[in-house]
């Protein structure tokens, strides 16, 4: 297991830092330990893949990092912000100013066009990209005025990525972004994420159970049963376009 530290061996500063993170859900009369003590740092500009099977706790970890959930015990910091102690309003501001989300099922607003789906986020952001530029980055410059129902699954997911990056977030959190897509389309989506990470330098965390995706990461963090069971650093990142599954 990697030793906790604030500066990586490459000299990057930690954006997220968790120590002894635990999360217990009580559902009816059953309590489920989803996280059993997670110590993790995510560094500026890195592309991290959190790998684990269903029930390994990876989604719970992502939810806590993204300010959607709070830990039962332990600490979680984003830069100087103590997310574990934050109020609902503070968490909303945190998400609004710093985090871009990409969901497994895209979650686009059906009544808004691609451009407007991006604009709904840029309207409330402090230093956003133009929606057109964000859509251009994900390769959808010619589909901007289409409604979600007029786009394929892969295109919808790329709109979602454009929406996530358009506010110019510090971190991009992606929950099984290719989970609902066939491999060919999935690779297009991963390519877009790779491009964002490379060109904008956005710290990116992707959670997935697809081992192949680990090859495109700077670091791979493996989770099992609510614990980190291994962290590996790839010597070289494999381009998304070369991935096959």
């Amino acid at each position: 297991m990697a030793a906790p530290r604030e500066i990586s061996e490459t000299g990057a500063r930690a954006v997220f830092r968790t120590r002894g993170l635990r999360k217990t859900y009580v559902v009816g009369e059953v309590s489920i330990e989803a996280l059993r003590g997670i110590d993790l740092d995510l560094y500026t500009g890195e592309f991290a893949v959190l790998l684990g099977a269903s029930g390994s706790g990876k989604s719970t970890l992502l939810n806590i990092l993204g300010g959607l959930d709070t830990p039962t015990s332990g600490t979680v910091h984003y830069a100087d912000h103590d997310l574990g102690q934050a109020s609902d309003a503070e968490l909303t501001r945190f998400r609004r100013e710093h985090v871009g989300f990409v969901f497994q099922f895209y979650n686009l607003i059906a009544s808004l066009t691609a451009r407007e789906n991006v604009a709904i986020v840029t309207e409330i952001a402090e230093r956003p990209l133009a929606p057109e530029r964000a859509l251009k980055i994900v390769g959808l410059a010619d589909r901007m005025d289409h409604f979600p129902a007029q786009l394929s699954g892969g295109e919808q997911q790329r709109v979602a990525i454009a929406r996530a990056i358009a506010k110019n977030p510090d971190v991009l959190l992606c929950d099984e972004p290719t989970g609902a897509l066939d491999s060919e389309t999935g690779i297009l989506v991963l390519d877009a994420l790779e491009k964002v990470n490379r060109d904008l330098g956005t710290t990116t965390a992707v959670i997935t159970h697809n081992v192949v995706i680990a090859d495109m990461a700077d670091r791979v963090i493996r989770l099992s049963d609510g614990r980190i069971v291994g962290v590996t650093r790839n010597v070289s990142r494999r381009p998304a376009r070369e991935l096959r599954w």
């Binding site: 985090v99 979650n107 129902a149």
Partner: protein
Amino acid sequence: MVSLSMLDRKWLRELWQMRGQALAIALVIASGIATYILSRSTIDSLTYTQEQFYADTHFADVFASLKRAPLAVAARIREIPGVVRADMRVAAPVNLDVPGFADPVSGLLLTLPESATAPNQLYLRAGRLPAPDEDAAVVANESFAEAQGLKPGARIAATINGRRKLLTVTGVVLSPEYVYLIRPGDFFPDYKRYGILWMNRESLSAAYGMDGAFNDVALTLAPGARLPEVISRLDAVLEPWGGIGAIGREDQASHHYLSEEIKQLRAQATIVPLIFMSVAAFLLNVVISRLILQQRMPMAILKAFGYSNTAITLHYLKLVTGIVFVGGVVGVAAGGWLAHGLSGIYAEFFRYPDMHFVLRPGVALSAVGVSALVAYLGTLNSVLRASRLAPAQALHPEAPPLFRESLLERTGIKQFLSQGGRMILRNISRHPVKSGLTLTGVALSCAIVTMGGLFNDAVNYMVDVQFNRSQHADLIVTFSDVAPERTVSELRSLSGVTMAEPLRAVPVRLRNGYRTYRTALQGYMPGGRLNDLLDADLRKVRVPPTGVLLTDFLARRLGVVPGEFITAEVLEASRPVARVQVVGLVREFAGMNAYMSLDVLNRLLPDDRGVSGMFLKVQPDRLQQVYAALKQRPKVAGVTIRAVAMRSFHELMAENILIYAAVMLVLAGTIAVGVVYNSTRVALSERAFELATLRVLGLTHREIAYILLGETGLLTLLAIPTGFLIGYGFSAYIAYSLASTLYRVPVVIEPPTLGRAALVIVLAGAASSLYIYHRLGRLDLVAVLKTRE
């Protein structure tokens, strides 16, 4: 079946889960049922009570009044075939002095029923009837006695034929003739200032100069007797004695009012519940179909397990039955309670020994049955649509709906809209039917509140027109008999009187072909200024030098238009018949009158010239003096003081109208909350996923609330003016269906009524929105990351 019992648990739990929505729907159903039961039960109670009382007291079938006939004539009347009971009475108009009450009080003194078998028996409520030889003893009708606090033993003074007589009240009674008591010529009852008294024949005859004579007849007929025949025979007997034409029970004042009241209730019993029930039906349809569409998934799972469409349909029908049951119980209970209360108000208004409260099981059952039927139809429609899907198809989530830009955006306002604003407009235009239904639902409740204000506004308008624009006389004097024309100058010279104008009213039958109507033909002074006649636009209509003016409603009834001729058969004196031209129409809210020049009218009756009343304008500080002087004069039957008439009118109307408006307000508020809450609540569950996504993306609680509530808010705002229009339509329809020969309600809706209607809707919307806003704070953000709608 074991399987069904599982489903039974499911529907019971689901009903509990959606209890908020279910309760809102149930309350709307309850409102519909309650209004229906309220009206039906009131009608049934009134009708039953009336029948009982009439039977117990031998209420007469024929009434006639005449100048004076010797009692010997009675035998000829009793001989008329079909007559079973007859009472030859003396009726004397009197002015009364009630100790401690300054306003003028008038009344009618009648002889007590001849025997225990005579028509129109009195029902003794307190005290006793005068002993056969007791002089100056009277019994008083209850509403008057109550209003004036007259107990047995009380003493009042009466001016009969100009002579003052002190009377002792020995008892308080009810009479089938005066269940609804109103002074002839008045629009509204005034119990404090008009009373009926009964006394022994000898005393009254002596005081009124009617020894050995009578001037009023009441008859009851054998079952199957032919009324028109009896009337014409009676008229023939009485004609030499100044008979003015007998009338049947249908035309008797109190009975006529009661019948009109019941007729109006019947109209209301149809219209108002119909409006409520259709709103409720419509709501049920909207809410239930949306509810069931949300049940696509569970329904598909049940089907995948092998449940039949029938079993599933039954399952949802049971769910709806639960809601209808709650609504039914609440509705029947509330309706019964309200009807009981309303009967109490009617008991004040109409005088019966006791009000029998009737709530027929059939009425309750049919109300609940209709509600259930409507609910089932709404449910079946949606369930069948949903259950027709193959399970695999239904298990698949619905494809993202295709949106396009709304029409409004294409006009170019798009650039001014935020993304949230665009979502609101597109959601509305994407679901035009759904949005239209929400708008209609809210508009209907707004319309109901608007309609609830109709009577208040209309009555205020009628009072304004009557007392401020039409009637300028401070006093209206009526004579007990035709007075000579010199009376005009006598009264004009009374100290304090500044203007005096004569009038004459004669009973007539107006005829146009087969259509006839019996009314008073009023002779006014052309150029008179104390009582203006007005047309539909409130412009003054001059009394023409020749020809006749008709109330527009009367003209319609007779089927004549200005320029045409009608026949006027005068029913007194020499009974002349004249062809007169209708030269114009006047608008009046009460009665069906005809007007002509006093001179022309007097020329029709050359042997009987005179006046029957006067309009007086009096110096304000001399009013009481003039009144006192008038009361001393013989032949003055009654004096109406304008200020007092206005005051008493307000006293009476305020309470009843306010109660009605309050009931409408509560019911409409219930409906408004039901519609707004349900449509927002359903929208919340339909769009929870989308809204939670936006929250995850960083939108605040308030920002997503704007998107969700903005849609309902916009529809609600649009619904308010729509509701005003519908409300005006409802009001016009109600006014139309209530129009009778007694009065017509003008369709008047004042700004405060509209303001109140808007306020009710805004408050109902705000309350529902507040609750939904609160719910939005509890959206499950984590779930949206994993689930797909």
